[in-house]
């Protein structure tokens, strides 16, 4: 994983950066989700302004094989608009919380995008031909006088400039009282779940006027509420199994065959608290911000404020691996509580073969942990490393004591520059890292 080293080490290089250059960030441009599709050819981002931008990878140039194809804008559309909830007198943000791709079944691509309240199924299709040679219409669309038509011809399809159209095919609304934090498509490719703070609903992709509630943790008396759902995901292979994580650091695995309402978990994953680290902030930092199954389905990964944990689904009492993301922040928890950074929700992701996991941090740093070599690396997404194929230099944060050259002290970290969303290409070593309003694409060095 380090910059220099053995043959198996990956050297990460800058490839592209998308987004505005200036430091003045328009709020609508803040990236709120990043997701590769199943082939990796398409990369979707959602932003706070409710827009979805899809990038498509160029087909590899076989002659110039020193780099993989670049990602260029393929389609941009407004997925969600701000809404006003008249019953509650509240505005509903148009920010896209999550995007999930459906596997491709025909020429068109489908994705689900969601804001706090409404999920939409979008169809993205290409049009690169158009019919020409109508009998009753001129080329510009004006109708011809039928009396002038003396011969008939068959219209033919002629090539045109590629046009990518996005159209909303389904709108799944009015099923969530609280804010949707997750959507996850089932391995049956027919159903999906959506989770808010207190409930999880199961939908059929074809049916928009009905959803089934499968988890409900709302207490009868809201004053007794002490725990909320923070993330949920379907198992990649078992269509009856899903997990959801909570603000108390627990993960519950549920089997939909057991009962209609999965309030009783099949498994409860929880690591006992380390008494030596106990503080008033212990619960907050144990809150899980993201949960992701491995591609194999054997493991799942959770992200809490300071660490990434890998769990074996067969072992509930503790994770099999724990990686510290930024342990140097433990002594700063009070400041981070004060400025609300302690509530930041970092996501995490697996690489295609489940050997490396990645997550973001502050100062535009992101971290990768190699599960096999146990090595980790810290890299920075910054415009300073702008030249394509520039190898990224590993970063180091100096926790205390004498700061070495090239190290950054904890107090110099910019807590406004946070990398919350990252994605890894399902097959190749290409990663997408979102800073506040820019999307960075890095690739491993191809020799």
């Amino acid at each position: 994983m380090a910059g220099a080293g053995g043959g198996n080490d990956i050297q990460w290089c800058f490839s592209q950066v998308k987004g505005a250059v200036d430091d003045d960030v328009a709020e609508a441009d803040i990236i709120s989700t990043v997701e590769f599709n199943h082939s990796g050819e398409l990369l979707a981002t959602g932003d706070k302004g409710g827009r979805v931008v899809i990038f498509q990878q160029e087909q590899e140039n076989k002659i110039q094989s020193h780099s993989r194809g670049e990602y260029n804008v393929y389609s941009t559309f407004q997925s969600h608009e701000p809404e006003f909830d008249y019953l509650k007198s509240l505005e509903i943000e148009e920010k896209i919380n999550k995007i999930r791709w459906l596997p491709q079944k025909n020429a068109a691509q489908f994705l689900l995008s969601t804001n706090d309240k409404t999920i939409k199924l979008w169809k993205i299709s290409e049009r690169d031909k158009r019919p020409e040679g109508y009998n009753l219409k001129e080329e510009d669309g004006r109708y011809r006088d039928p009396t002038t038509v003396t011969t008939l011809r068959v219209p033919v399809f002629r090539p045109m400039d590629l046009m990518v159209e996005a159209s909303p095919r389904r709108i799944f609304a009015n099923a969530h009282t609280y804010h949707i934090n997750s959507i996850s498509i089932n391995s049956d490719y027919e159903t999906y779940l959506s989770a808010d703070d207190l409930r999880i609903n199961l939908w059929h992709l074809e049916i928009t006027d009905r959803s089934f509630n499968i988890v409900d943790i709302k207490p009868a008396n809201m004053e007794e509420l002490t725990e909320v759902i923070t993330a949920a995901e379907f198992h990649p292979n078992s269509c009856n199994t899903f997990v959801y994580s909570s603000s108390k650091g627990t993960i519950r695995l549920c089997d939909m065959r057991a009962s209609a309402l999965c309030d009783r978990h099949s498994k409860l994953f929880e690591e006992p608290e380390d008494p030596s680290n106990r503080s008033f902030f212990s619960e907050i930092i144990s809150s899980i911000s993201d949960v992701k199954f491995s591609h194999s389905g054997r493991y799942m990964m959770t992200r809490d404020y300071l660490s990434v944990k890998i769990w074996d689904l067969n072992m509930e009492n503790r994770p099999v691996e724990t990686y510290q993301v930024h342990e140097y922040l433990r002594s700063k928890l009070c400041s981070l509580y004060e400025n609300d950074c302690i509530f930041d929700k970092f996501e995490c992701c697996w690489n295609g073969c489940d050997s490396v996991v990645m997550t973001g941090s502050y100062n535009n740093f992101f971290r990768m942990f190699d599960r096999n070599t146990k090595r980790d690396i810290t890299l920075e997404a910054s415009r300073e490393n702008n030249k394509p194929r520039t190898v990224l230099k590993p970063r180091k944060v100096c926790a205390s004591g004498k700061r070495k050259k090239d190290e950054i002290s904890v107090d110099s970290l910019d807590f406004n520059k946070k990398i919350l969303h990252t994605a890894w290409h399902p097959k190749e070593n290409i990663i997408a890292v979102a800073t506040t309003n820019n999307l960075y694409i890095f690739q491993d060095k191809v020799n």
Binding site: L87, D197, D216, E223, S279, F281, E283
Partner: protein, 242 residues
């Protein structure tokens, strides 16, 4: 953020506290640090509630933190009624502002039963406001404590970052706090009193039901506010078909 010039008082104060803090002369006592965290949390909850639609996860986490602190303070015996001198002007201001703020909040909450804070989540709308006077500006959370009697001003002596302060918290053995507090003169406001807002009021106000922090036993009296919320919650549930 904290007013300078009050360090001496804190240091003097700590010199009285015996050996446990001897090594931390410049660091405020655990109880003050804890109190400050409590204040900060309550202000956060109040600000939370002022937002259009509060983040439920964040609210719950902060509320749990407040509850933890309160439980510990109850065990320590430091959680007690406000001392007589502080039931003068300041608490009355709070009660008045509580009622005003609660009323306007209730109008807003009356139609949003199912959203996070509107459901009467643990502390309810009143609790956050009850610790803040109407003169409070949200951007300056520490101001709320300045008008209280003098020991409270010791909080102004946090010269060092709160980080270092809380490092000491993490290693503190709760059992040793008794001797630390023996000389304490500060009067911590009684959160229960403040939350219920009934100390000096004859008839229960609309916010009485929302006593999330009152220690376990007494179930909150049902109030018109809560039953309204319950009905509307039911209606909303039907509407969203969950």
């Amino acid at each position: 953020m904290f007013a300078r010039g009050l360090k001496r008082k804190c240091a003097d104060h700590e010199e009285d506290m015996g050996g446990a803090l001897a090594g931390f002369k410049a660091v405020p006592s655990y109880s003050l640090q804890r109190q400050s965290l409590l204040d900060m949390s309550l202000v956060k909850l109040q600000l939370c509630h002022m937002l259009v639609e509060p983040n439920l996860c964040r609210s719950v986490l902060i509320a749990n933190t407040v509850r933890q602190i309160q439980e510990e303070m109850t065990q320590d015996g430091t959680w007690r009624m406000a001392a007589p001198q502080s039931t003068g002007r300041a608490p009355l201001d709070r009660l008045v502002s509580t009622e005003i703020l609660c009323r306007s909040t209730r109008e807003q909450d009356g139609v949003c039963p199912a959203s996070g804070m509107g459901d009467g989540l643990a502390l309810g709308p009143v609790s956050e406001f009850s610790t803040v006077t109407s003169a409070q500006t949200p951007g300056n959370p520490q101001n709320s404590v300045w008008e209280m009697d003098s020991p409270r001003e010791n909080r102004g002596s946090f010269q060092k970052s709160l980080d270092q302060i809380f490092e000491t918290l993490e290693t503190r053995n709760p059992g040793s706090t008794d001797e630390l507090f023996s000389d304490m003169d500060s009067s911590y406001y009684d959160l229960d009193t403040v939350l219920t807002g009934v100390v000096s009021r004859a008839e229960p106000g609309p916010c009485d039901g929302l006593q999330g922090l009152a220690p376990a036993a007494t179930p909150p009296p049902s109030s018109s506010c809560k039953s309204d919320l319950g009905e509307l919650d039911h209606v909303v549930e039907i509407l969203v078909e969950t």
